[in-house]
Amino acid sequence: MNIIVCMKQVPDSETRVKTAPDGKSLDLSAVNFVINPHDEFAIEEAIRLKEQFSGEVTVLTLGPERAENDIRKALAMGADKAVLLKTDANFSGDVAHALAEQIKTMPYDLLLFGKQAIDEDSSQMAQLVAEMLDLPCVTVVVKLDINQESKVCTAEREIEGGKEIVEFSLPAVIGTQKGLNEPRLPNLKGIMAAKKKPLEKKEPVISAATTEIVAIELPPARPAGKIVGKGADAVPELLRLLHEEAKVI
């Protein structure tokens, strides 16, 4: 089974946010980058499926040169090869289109995505790419079973207040969610092997973006909170404030 995992490199979740002088982007100079945490579930699932069915796992990333660092980590986890669609740090083209155009040139049975990239929090890429490639797509997947012979897949996806169980055939696109698996840590052997695994760098196919960032702003600081008091004695005052001042109960 050939699996492509779309993986993004993002600032880690502890990052302190600063806006850049252009007012439209973030100052990324002092940022520590990581594999998008949601994408670790996609990488792990791909490796497990490969172990089960054999085949090849390819990591696909659109991003700047520095993304190589985290692509190597995915290779160290057990992916076989990677493609980096190399761009500037602030790529302004259509990412979904660039990914879809690249995917069209590769063999695949399954495309795996994370639920969302934790920098822009869009939660859109899996469905966008699926639509461009005219493939079925199942998002927020917490359980995935593939029947070896029939290639029929059963997946569980999270919805409000429960789960949906769906059935579909390959080729398909899956958006992964926490709960699907426990991503492994790369071991030393994996890290050594990753250095020699093939990583192809190329220019993405660029088409104009459909949206434009006009500004990026920091949220207004929350006014310093009020410590109502200590211990159970503070309860009546807290309830009074919630009732009379905040008017929320």
Binding site: S13, Q127, E164, I165, V228, V235, L238
Partner: protein, 322 residues
């Protein structure tokens, strides 16, 4: 130009976010000097559609088809595509609910439209629409202009007000030949009990590791019940297996925007704040006066939750006359 609101229903009842989207479509249409229509999709839903008139929507499209009984990305995308054509709509609004998050990008792809997800604010200065959406887990806000002929926008639940504004609505049924879905819903597992859905709740009581053991969770449930609230959990509690991931609030859990969020025994890690910092009022109960949660709280009690919670539950119940 016109605005089309996709009013989400499940099992024959509108979601609260469905009314929010309808109300915002009307408000936006007034600001942009255009009209707002709504779309209801499902099976056996023709009767309920007129209810949207309560929210100022005069034109309601209904696509009622046995094949749309259960949500399917492709079936619902086709339905929206047809309604957009019929209405000549250029702005398509939907909730950023589980359904809307799945559906929005597919619809945008189909219409070759720009997409903005999880939007919390609109600007219409000079008749030009820009939308605001939180990024970096709420640590920054992006203002976006969509440059395509069609614009698809999903609205964060609980942020936009559902506003009653009754009008006489004209319901029009559209019949379309729904293509068979490639992804078939086989079953639905609904969590037992009539719990209040986290993302739609007005009040949320959340518990963290400070509760020390799963058997103390009952204290969170009791306070939530006294306040008519939903209950949520920090990741520490979910990872420890005390609560299910369903209830997790934060970067890898749910994003919530209630009127009131009460954090009990939660330290306030940045990834937790990511999921709840857009709450209107935040209350923290924590024994450590230095806990970061106090920095973003409107009101705090420094103290042992095992003393504070029972008292708070008792007095809140009295106040609510329970």
């Amino acid at each position: 130009m016109s605005i089309l609101a996709f009013a989400e229903q499940r099992n024959g009842a509108f979601r609260k976010s469905g009314f929010e989207v309808a109300s915002e479509a009307k408000r936006l249409a007034d600001k942009l000097g255009t009209s707002a229509a709504a779309l209801v999709v499902g099976s056996g839903i023709e009767k309920m559609a007129a209810e949207l008139g309560k929210y100022g929507i005069t034109k309601i499209y209904v696509i009622d088809d046995a094949g749309l009984d259960k949500y399917s990305t492709e079936g619902y995308t086709q339905a929206i595509e047809e309604a957009v054509k019929k209405e000549k709509a250029t702005i398509i609004l939907m909730p950023a609910s589980a359904m809307g998050r799945d559906l929005g990008p597919r619809v945008a792809g189909r219409l070759k439209a720009g997409l903005a997800t999880d939007v919390t604010h609109f600007d219409t200065d000079g008749g030009k629409l820009t939308v605001t959406r939180p990024v970096m887990a709420g640590k920054a806000f992006q203002k976006i202009a969509i440059k395509t002929a069609h614009q698809v926008i999903s609205l964060r639940p609980n942020v936009f007000r559902a506003q009653e504004n009754p009008v006489q609505a004209n319901v029009e049924k559209l019949s379309i030949a729904i293509k068979p879905a490639r992804v078939k819903v086989k079953d639905m597992v609904v969590e037992s009990g009539k719990k209040i859905e986290l993302t739609e709740a007005d009040i949320i009581v959340s518990g963290g590791r400070g509760l020390k053991a799963p058997e103390h969770w009952e204290m969170i449930v009791k306070l939530a019940d006294a306040l008519g609230a939903a209950h949520g959990a920090s990741r520490a509690v979910v990872d420890a297996g005390w609560r299910s991931h369903e209830e997790q609030v934060g970067q890898t859990g749910k994003t919530v925007s209630p009127q009131l969020y009460i954090a009990v025994g939660i330290s306030g890690a940045i990834q937790h704040l990511a999921g709840m910092s857009s709450s209107k009022y935040i209350v923290a109960i924590n024994s450590d006066a230095e806990a970061p949660i106090f920095k973003i709280s409107d009101y705090g009690i420094v103290g042992d939750l095992f003393e504070v919670l029972p008292e708070l539950t008792k007095q809140a119940a009295q106040m609510k006359g329970k």
